[in-house]
Symmetry: C2
Subunit: 172 residues, 2 copies
């Protein structure tokens, strides 16, 4: 990867097709992702609406790692809308397999944490990660996330095995 040609940009409706292409690819590449299959099946119109809507919300953002016009990584911050929970933001991150192990996850999370610090009213970033995904857990720890719990058997693999989910959070 020619690092100098990767740039980071807030997702906008004009990225809808590239984001869809990204989700359709990454959901095929790994069993570690959960929340994205529904998104991968969005129509182009639904994805445009989704990206437009979150531009208006103070505790939502989606940051893309772009290589030319291709989305090669993405971090999504999704805040709660209940006033007693709106300081809490769920973090979702994914990187195309061809770009694993090249620091892209670190760079995406760095951007996301900076964005959350600048945003007014966000205090807590949280995420869940499959307990078997040790490289992701190591990344989150490096970026200041601490383990807060372990949900036993909270996810089924496609083969029907029950696996644990680790909960992690970071105050900003």
């Amino acid at each position: 990867m020619a690092e100098q040609s990767v740039w980071f940009e807030l997702a906008q409706p004009l990225h809808a097709q590239a984001v869809l292409d990204f989700f359709q690819q990454v959901t095929q590449e790994t069993d570690y992702l959960l929340d994205d299959e529904e998104i991968a099946n969005y129509s182009l119109e639904q994805m445009r609406d989704n990206l437009a809507r979150r531009q208006d919300l103070f505790n939502h953002c989606c940051i893309l790692a772009l290589l030319d016009d291709e989305v090669i990584g993405l971090v999504n911050l999704a805040g709660h809308d209940h006033p007693q929970l709106d300081h809490v933001v769920d973090v979702f991150i994914a990187v195309k397999k061809a770009y694993w192990g090249q620091g892209l996850g670190t760079a995406l999370l760095d951007n996301a944490i900076d964005w959350a610090i600048q945003a007014d009213g966000i205090c807590r970033l949280e995420l869940s990660v499959q307990a078997r995904n040790s490289s992701a857990i190591a990344l989150y720890q490096k970026m200041g996330f601490e383990s807060e719990g372990l949900k036993r058997g909270a996810v089924k693999t496609k083969e029907g095995d029950y696996i644990d989910l680790s909960l992690m959070a970071r105050w900003v």
Copy 2:
């Protein structure tokens, strides 16, 4: 409370107004509830639709404690719809303040656990509870729920203080 006149029934669309009245009252009575303010503001039509829709889902149910036509307590089981998460059901329980401390929470949870055991495909009941709500935590422990983690500052009180959320789960 004349215990012999309380009965438990699966919520149906015909209970919509009584369920709305219940939520409007309990959200005023305690700061321990989070997820219900939106529901308390449903229209009658929205509540009817909501109760009708969940009758068709294998991993959803709402059990009412009724005294005459009044809902005095409620347990709601809400399953995930993602196929890798649909064995997991979120538990929400509330009881009118006038009936606290009379065993109604235990009876509602007993009914809910029995329902989940009978239902095909539900493995895991989970819930979150404010860490300061020690009587609720004692009830969940008595009913077989174990602590799985503590989310620091995950809820704001109406006064703006950050408080911890305890995560608990029980396998069925």
